[in-house]
C-alpha cells in the first residue's frame, strides 16, 4: 500500500544493469540474451530482473546466458541450465506445467465463470416483470435529483 515509495526503497541504487562491455557482437544473439535475462529474477535482490539488477550475481548470470548462447544453446536450454543451478525461483515467467496450470488457467476460468453468471443474471432480468419505483421512492429521488 505504500506503492512505489517503497518500490524505490530497496532498489539497488544507481544505474541499471547491462554494462557496456557485456553485449555480444552478434545483434540477434544479443537480442535473445536480453529477452532471456529480462525474464530471469535476480536471486539476491528483492524483486528485480537480471537485466536491470546491479548485483554481482546478476552480472554473472548475464554473462552465463551469453556464454551458453555462444555455445549454441536454445533459449529453453539456457533456462533449463539456470533452473538446475538456481532453482525454479529464477524464472519470472512461471512454466505452465504441473500445479502452475492452476495459475495459468485461472484467468480463463474466472472469465468463463463470470460471463456465465453474468449471462444468467442478465437473462433473469430480461425475463423479470418491470417494477416501478414506489411513490415515496420517486419523491425521495426527485428530492435528491432535481429534474
Amino acid at each position: 500500500m505504500k506503492g512505489l515509495v517503497l518500490a524505490l526503497l530497496l532498489w539497488p541504487a544507481a544505474l541499471g544493469a547491462v554494462e557496456p562491455g557485456e553485449a555480444l557482437t552478434d545483434p540477434a544473439l544479443e537480442a535473445r540474451a536480453r529477452d532471456i535475462s529480462s525474464e530471469l529474477r535476480c536471486p539476491v535482490c528483492q524483486n528485480e530482473n537480471v537485466d536491470d539488477s546491479r548485483a554481482p550475481i546478476a552480472r554473472d548470470i548475464r554473462l552465463l546466458v551469453r556464454e551458453r548462447l555462444l555455445l549454441g544453446d536454445t533459449d529453453d536450454e539456457v533456462r533449463a541450465a539456470l533452473v538446475s543451478r538456481y532453482g525454479e525461483f529464477i524464472l519470472l515467467d512461471p512454466p505452465a506445467s504441473g500445479a502452475n496450470l492452476v495459475l495459468w488457467l485461472a484467468g480463463p476460468a474466472f472469465l468463463l465463470a463470470g460471463l456465465g453468471v453474468g449471462w444468467a443474471a442478465v437473462r433473469r432480468r430480461a425475463a423479470a416483470p418491470e417494477v416501478d419505483l414506489s411513490p415515496e421512492e420517486r419523491a425521495r429521488l426527485d428530492e435528491l435529483l432535481p429534474p
Binding site: 524505490l8 515467467d93 421512492e137
Partner: protein, 657 residues
C-alpha cells in the same frame, strides 16, 4: 512536550473512535435519536485529535527532534526541509498515522456531506467508519507507535533513504492513501445498508461520489508513483508488476467496477447485491494491500516495514472487517431484491460486462500476486510470478474492455440497439483501423503491439468523442458546453483510457536504447539524434555529492536539448542514486543516465528514446479529470442543497463544498 501532547491526542482519538462506534450503533438499533446524533460531533472531534497528533509528528520531523526514535531512524539535520517534512510519512509508523488521519477526514466529510441521509443510516455509516478508526488507532498505539522517545539522544539522525528524497514522496503516498481510505466510505455505506436491510436507488446515488473520489485519488496516486519510478529508477520503466504495485492496482480496478455498477443501482435498481459485494471487496483489497506491504510475506522491492507480528495483526483486522461484512452480506443479501428489468442488449448488460472484465482482472492479479505464497506453503515449491505472466494474463482482458467500451457506452438503458450503435461508430472504427495500419507500416513490424495498441486507443478515443457528439442531439455543437458534467466526465475519462492505451503500447513497442562508453567530448547516435558528452563536473549538494554530466542532443546539426544527468552519493546512508536527464516531448522522451567512469577513460552512458511516454501521464490525468467533471455534476453531489425552502445544511458544510 509537543510530542507527548501528540501521543496523548492519539490516545484520546482512539477513545473517541470507540464512542463513535458504539453509541450511534446502539442508537440506530434502538431508535434513540440523541444517541445517533453523537456520531457527527464524534467524527469532528476525532479528526481534530488525529490532526493534532499528526501535526505533532510533523513538528518533530521539521525541527529534527532526535529524541524521537522515528526521527532518528528516518531523518538527518542536513536534509532539505521539504524532505524533513515528507519524511514524516516515508516510514511505517508515520504513514500509518497519515492513513488514520485520512480515515478521520473522510469520516468527518461523510458526517458533513451526509446531512441529507436518513438519521439511522447516517449514524450507522459513521459508526462503521469509527470502528475502522478504532481498530487502526489501537494497531498504531500497540505495534507502531511513532511517538516513542529515545535515550540517550543521538547527535544526528540516520537519514531518509535517498531514493525517497524526492518531491514524489510529497504527493504519491498521500494521494494513494486518499484513494485506499476513501474506499472505506463505500464499505461503511455497504455495511450500514446491510444493517438497515435497505438498498435502493438512493444508495447508489450516495455511494457513487465517494467511490468516484476514491478512484480519482487512486488514479492520481498510482500515476504519480509510476512517473516517479520512471524518472528516478534509471531505465525508464513505468510499471513493474511488483506485489505492492499490484496491491494498488486491485482496489483501483474494483473501484472502477463499483463506480460503474453504482450507476446501474441508481438509474435502474439492478445489480444491487453485486454493488454491495464490490464495495466490501474494494476496501478489502485496500486492507490486503496494507497487509502485503507491512507483513513481508511476499518478496517485494517494497520490503520496508517487514514485521510478521504487525502483519498478523493487520491480517486479523482484515478477517474481522471483511469476514464480518461478508457474513452480514450472506445473511441479508436475500432481502436485497433487484427491481429494474432490462433487455439482454442494453446499457445495463454492457456495464455487467465491464464489471466482469474489471473484477476478473483484479482476481487474476490477486492470484498471480499470491501464487508464490500458495505454491510455497501448499506445494513446497519456491517460484516466482513476474511481468511475463501478468502481461499475458491481464492484456487480453484490457483488450476486450477497450474493444467493447465504445459500443457499450452508446447503448440505451433498458433496451439497446447494437446494430444502430455499430453504424454510428463506423467512422470511429474506420479511423482506428487506418491508424492501426499506419502504425504497422511505419513500425519495425517485429511486434503487433503497436498496430493493435494504436487501433484500440484510437477506437476508444473516437468512440468517446462520438458519444459526446451524440449527446448534443439536434441542437449541434452549441449545446456542447451546456451538457451535464457527467456526460463530459464520461467522455473525458473514456478518452483518457484510450490515450493511456496508445501511450503504453507505443512506449513499449518503439523504444530505442543505447548502452555504451562515451569519452568526454565524444558522441553517439540514438534514433534520429546525435548526443555529445561535453563534460562531467563534481558538485556538492546539501546532503550529497553529485557527478553531473553535461550532454547535448542534436538532430540534423540543430541543438534539440541539453541533458544533465546526475549520479549522487549520499554519505550518511552510503547509497548512490541516479537522476536521469529527460527531455520530454509530445511524441517522445529522450532519456539519458550517467554511469560509472570507466577504467580506460570515459563514462558508461545509457540513453533511450521512449516514444509517446507523455501520453501515459496525459491519459491518466484525463481519466482523473473525467472523474472530477463527473463529480462536479451537481446531480451527483450528495447534500447539494437541492431546491429546499430552508437551508438545511449549516454554513460550514456549504463552505466545505
Amino acid at each position: 512536550m509537543i510530542v507527548e501532547l501528540g501521543h496523548f491526542a492519539l490516545i484520546l482519538a482512539v477513545a473517541v473512535a470507540a464512542v463513535q462506534t458504539l453509541v450511534p450503533l446502539v442508537g440506530a438499533h434502538k431508535g434513540w435519536r440523541n444517541w445517533m446524533d453523537v456520531a457527527a460531533p464524534a467524527a469532528t472531534l476525532q479528526v481534530v485529535l488525529v490532526a493534532f497528533a499528526f501535526a505533532a509528528l510533523l513538528w518533530a520531523f521539521v525541527t529534527s527532534d532526535f529524541s524521537v526514535a522515528l526521527v532518528v531512524a528516518n531523518s538527518n539535520s542536513l536534509k532539505p526541509w521539504l524532505y524533513k517534512l515528507t519524511g514524516t510519512w516515508g516510514n511505517h509508523e508515520g504513514s500509518m498515522l497519515l492513513w488514520l488521519l485520512i480515515l478521520a477526514l473522510f469520516g468527518w466529510a461523510a458526517a458533513w456531506f451526509g446531512t441529507d441521509l436518513p438519521a439511522s443510516f447516517r449514524a450507522r455509516v459513521l459508526a462503521v467508519q469509527g470502528s475502522v478508526g478504532l481498530a487502526f488507532g489501537l494497531f498504531i498505539l500497540a505495534t507502531s507507535n511513532p511517538f516513542l522517545r529515545m535515550d540517550p539522544v543521538p547527535m544526528d539522525g540516520r537519514d531518509l533513504n535517498p531514493l525517497l528524497q524526492d518531491p514524489g514522496l510529497a504527493l504519491h503516498p498521500p494521494f494513494l492513501y486518499l484513494g485506499y481510505v476513501g474506499l472505506s466510505i463505500a464499505y461503511a455505506f455497504a455495511v450500514a445498508a446491510l444493517l438497515e436491510g435497505r438498498v435502493d436507488a438512493a444508495w447508489g446515488r450516495w455511494v457513487r461520489p465517494w467511490t468516484l473520489a476514491a478512484w480519482i485519488f487512486l488514479t492520481i496516486g498510482i500515476a504519480i508513483g509510476s512517473w516517479w519510478a520512471y524518472y528516478e529508477l534509471g531505465w525508464g520503466g513505468f510499471w513493474f508488476w511488483d506485489p505492492v504495485e499490484n496491491a494498488s492496482l486491485m482496489p483501483w480496478l474494483l473501484a472502477g467496477a463499483l463506480l460503474h455498477s453504482a450507476i446501474v443501482v441508481e438509474k435502474r435498481e439492478a445489480l444491487k447485491a453485486w454493488a454491495l459485494l464490490l464495495a466490501i471487496a474494494a476496501f478489502g483489497f485496500s486492507l490486503l494491500g496494507t497487509f502485503l506491504v507491512r507483513s513481508g510475506v511476499l518478496t517485494s522491492v517494497h520490503a520496508f516495514a517487514n514485521d510478521p507480528a504487525r502483519g498478523f495483526v493487520i491480517l486479523a483486522l482484515l478477517a474481522v472487517f471483511i469476514g464480518g461484512a461478508l457474513t452480514l452480506f450472506a445473511l441479508r443479501a436475500g432481502t436485497v431484491e433487484a427491481r429494474g428489468a432490462f433487455a439482454t442488449v442494453s446499457r445495463e448488460t454492457a456495464l455487467v460486462l465491464n464489471n466482469i472484465l474489471l473484477a476478473v482482472a483484479a482476481l487474476v492479479v490477486l492470484l498471480g500476486t499470491l501464487w508464490p505464497l500458495i505454491a510455497e506453503t501448499l506445494l513446497g515449491r519456491t517460484l516466482s510470478v513476474g511481468p511475463p505472466f501478468f502481461d499475458r494474463a491481464v492484456t487480453p482482458l484490457m483488450v476486450a474492455l477497450a474493444a467493447a467500451l465504445p459500443l457499450g457506452a452508446l447503448l440505451a438503458w433498458k433496451r439497446g440497439d447494437l446494430g444502430r450503435s455499430a453504424r454510428i461508430l463506423l467512422p470511429a472504427l474506420l479511423l482506428a483501423l487506418a491508424l492501426g495500419a499506419l502504425a504497422w507500416a511505419v513500425g519495425t513490424g517485429r511486434t503487433i503491439l503497436a498496430p493493435v495498441g494504436v487501433a484500440l486507443g484510437t477506437w476508444v478515443i473516437a468512440g468517446a468523442l462520438t458519444d459526446l457528439w451524440l449527446r448534443t442531439g439536434r441542437s449541434g455543437p452549441a449545446r456542447l458546453l451546456r451538457l451535464p458534467g457527467a456526460d463530459w466526465g464520461r467522455a473525458t475519462a473514456h478518452a483518457g483510457l484510450g490515450v493511456l492505451i496508445l501511450g503504453v503500447s507505443l512506449h513499449l513497442a518503439w523504444r530505442e536504447e543505447a548502452i555504451l562508453v562515451v569519452p568526454v567530448g565524444g558522441s553517439f547516435e540514438i534514433g534520429a539524434y546525435t548526443v555529445t558528452l561535453d563534460s562531467v563536473e563534481r558538485v556538492q549538494g546539501p546532503n550529497y555529492v553529485a557527478d553531473i554530466g553535461h550532454l547535448v542532443a542534436r538532430r540534423g546539426g540543430a541543438v534539440v536539448a541539453a541533458l544533465d544527468p546526475e549520479k549522487r552519493l549520499y554519505p550518511v546512508t552510503g547509497m548512490t542514486t541516479t537522476e536521469a536527464a529527460i527531455d520530454s516531448g509530445p511524441l517522445r522522451d529522450l532519456y539519458v543516465v550517467l554511469g560509472d567512469p570507466q577504467e580506460g577513460g570515459g563514462y558508461a552512458i545509457r540513453a533511450y528514446v521512449k516514444p509517446f511516454t507523455a501520453w501515459i501521464w496525459a491519459g491518466s490525468a484525463l481519466m482523473a479529470l473525467g472523474g472530477l467533471l463527473s463529480l462536479l455534476d451537481r446531480r451527483v453531489r450528495v447534500g447539494a442543497p437541492a431546491r429546499r425552502p430552508a437551508p438545511a445544511t449549516p454554513p460550514a458544510a456549504v463552505a466545505a463544498e
